[in-house]
Symmetry: C2
Amino acid sequence: MSTIGKALTLLDTISRLEKEAGLSDIARHCGLDKATTRRFLVELEKHGFVEQDPETRRYRLGGAPVRLARIRETRFPYLSVATPFARELASLAGETVHLSEYAAGRLSTVHVEDSQRAHRVIVDVGSILPFHATASGLGFLAFCPPKDIDAVLSAPLEAFTDQTLTDPAILRQTLSETLRRGYSICHHGLETGVVSVAAPIRAPGSTPVGAIAVAAPATRAEKETVEQMGRAAMTAARRISERLFGLEQVAADPLARRAG
Amino acid sequence: MSTIGKALTLLDTISRLEKEAGLSDIARHCGLDKATTRRFLVELEKHGFVEQDPETRRYRLGGAPVRLARIRETRFPYLSVATPFARELASLAGETVHLSEYAAGRLSTVHVEDSQRAHRVIVDVGSILPFHATASGLGFLAFCPPKDIDAVLSAPLEAFTDQTLTDPAILRQTLSETLRRGYSICHHGLETGVVSVAAPIRAPGSTPVGAIAVAAPATRAEKETVEQMGRAAMTAARRISERLFGLEQVAADPLARRAG
DNA sequence: TCTTTCGGTTCAATATATGAACCTTAGCTT
DNA sequence: AAGCTAAGGTTCATATATTGAACCGAAAGA
């Protein structure tokens, strides 16, 4: 792997640590030499991607990504467009809603609207959503071209619970159901006791860019409730997609839709 | 410079381009060889820091920084804490307000609340604020330790307008006034016709982490108005700082402030 | 006190990055 | 339509940056 790749992997590792970590800790997590780790950290720090606490000497995520994220957001306002719909969906469903975005071959959680209930599903911002074991992943993948599906299903599929689907044939069937239905359903895929539904956010006829999902405790997931949540997620996803891609088309080609 | 440094500089360059750019364009902007540029872009793309448009083959900022930024924001909620105060300040002052964060030796704009007026100052999210030529920069620097001030003032200082202060002696005086006053004032430092005021966001007795600034057209910047805006910015900065660092102390040491 | 582990550094060995030259395609000029 | 230019992308010998075992001093545990 190239040096850049290693450094960015290190950054990713840091982002996944619960809290600030020391040099040796980070080196161990990344499987890198301490000297190498240090040089990477120093370089990343120079550019603001990590920070070192001057007292504890531990390292944490820096401020540079914030600037980049804000720039991206002004050009492709995924969060600012989707968040209000996520909030609406959360209050409608009374359950935790999360938004994910596809980047670097992975689907990662970029926003969470917590349910107001005491008993609710907790989703961490920044967590990676496996394609085969989450509603978001299935809802996303179902609308991808066959080669992407093949790529995911031909890799080893981890069983996170004893009910995680790992058989490619069954998953293919689940995906085609999802495609037909318009939203995905996932029972206990990543964590036992959680049922979730999701729908992809996408330009018409194009690969999805992310997904919106509702996650509920299984005790509140009657068949009919799940269907309601699924349809609501699908509607939210469609409205977000229209706002993101419909308007962009207007901006790019004003004649396409006058007075839209 | 290390390969990592070069790659991150390239990423920074891309973030600064107005719009998506082609390979040769990017190579020229970075002063790198086309082959090198390409390898960097491929590597950055693998990790989601840049995206390539499959049609135009142009490159743009990717989604990975969004995930990192959200993680950082959950650990250090700078934007979510500061934004409401910025909005309040913007409506109070009736002028554009912007928030900046210090990272990688630079102060960069991470949020903007636009003034409602037709005639207003425009600030771009992601723009870099020079320390000597903006209210944010001066307000930040004034509260930094002397060695940081020396470092900035000993480097060449660009004159962005014919009124930009570039004389280190005068700047030192401006900084000490700012320190005494609690907020900075900058007349036509970066752009002619703009007057701005700013105050640093900081833990007590510690180096600032950013600044909040109000920017107004010079035609609306009477001496008294400027003072009012300055005091308002200072108040906003103080309240943001308390929320950020006051609460953190409580969390770290619950006995320090019971029933806060 | 002794031991271990920490953050951080050094330098010879070596793996990696580099860029001139190249290819192919797309658009423009003549 | 041929000819030209510049685009994106690739190759491979060369040059350079990366690597990691061994090292240091400090600090935390035993």
